[in-house]
Symmetry: C2
Subunit: 252 residues, 2 copies
Amino acid sequence: MVEEVTAALVIIGNEVLSGRTQDANLQYIAVGLNEVGVRLKEVRVIADDEAAIIRTVNELRAANTYVFTTGGIGPTHDDITAECIAKAFGVPLRRDPRAVERLLRQIKPENLNEARLRMANIPEGADLIDNPVSHAPGFRIGNVHVMAGVPKIMQAMFDGVRGSLRGGAKMVSKSVTIHMGEGAIADGLRQLQADRPAVEIGSYPFSREGKFGTVIVTRGTDPATVAQVSHEVAVMAESLGARTEEEPPPSY
Amino acid sequence: MVEEVTAALVIIGNEVLSGRTQDANLQYIAVGLNEVGVRLKEVRVIADDEAAIIRTVNELRAANTYVFTTGGIGPTHDDITAECIAKAFGVPLRRDPRAVERLLRQIKPENLNEARLRMANIPEGADLIDNPVSHAPGFRIGNVHVMAGVPKIMQAMFDGVRGSLRGGAKMVSKSVTIHMGEGAIADGLRQLQADRPAVEIGSYPFSREGKFGTVIVTRGTDPATVAQVSHEVAVMAESLGARTEEEPPPSY
């Protein structure tokens, strides 16, 4: 059995919890991790609150191979992620000359005020994460990757980091659309799942133009087994009189 | 000081963690809770995994006034939320005659197979939550509200429940758009926040047509104070030469 490599994501931001902003980072990271064989096990959205950030990061870094955080690394008073991560690791937060140098690629020296210099405060022992969009870096300390919350910047940071992750078995999936309500195929699905413990069979109901249907997603690490079970799902549903559409595997 | 009424949301679903599905429930619940004076403090996205569901629900129900869950209450083998909630509360899961009666509003008796009847398995002592869309109910036990994952159904369930929540002080907000990068106004914002601890001042950078700007959101329970501080933010930014637009308060 291949070792499971897991990750947790911490979305730091009052604006998501208040409903002001729709998170746009979870799905990008979920898909990207899956592509390198890292399984996203849990996501937490928490407030800009020191105690909550420290507690959450310490809990999740002990339980997962990797932790990613988004948000709270800008220049304003509500950007407290770097200092919280330093406290979580019990190391000092220091003005990092490498980070200052990067800020100067974007910001004129006369505009590099104290607030902007805060973006160069990095926990001791951390490596910087490149920010090709606006240069203010993220950082990695231990197994924790600290990234910006702005999607365009987060994506650039994540894409730069992704190649360094030590992935495990990659999950592939195949889906079949069944034009029948999930209640009618549930017994057959349960039996198939019991017979095929090496894959996960997920059932997602939908209604379209007043008709009920179900998308069945089969996921696993062996592409041949996934394709086989997905086909068995279609055959089972057809035996109950359902019209089905087997789809090519999506990229995740 | 008014008591703080808090909530946590648990999104149960492998499909969100794999990136297959973009969650569409967080924002609706966040905005709705805010409107009745309940503060959403934390959101967790977890897998269809018994141990994870039980642990998460027990941790969050002890720490918050209310807990909401979405997902995992359909008829298929991967719908395990009801049995996990029963285990979390240490009560039996029972076939509930009230729930069977509701299923029969939607499903013909001859189609009410064992899989569909699983949707009537409800933890002992729970109250049902109405599902005006497709009748299969959610339920409330203790401070935990268990709802469907399909957005249309979840929204109908949540709207029905919302009136029963005992809200605390309602948060209002006002935003001002500042056409200047946040690094330039950060020092002034920090000072304002220090002077005005009764409100939260959040800073959200944006770039539009290549120009940097910042939206400042002031939140608090007293509308007059929120409006006053938001105006002070605009005045501060204008004193630095920024063009600003004060916006009417949004509904959340």
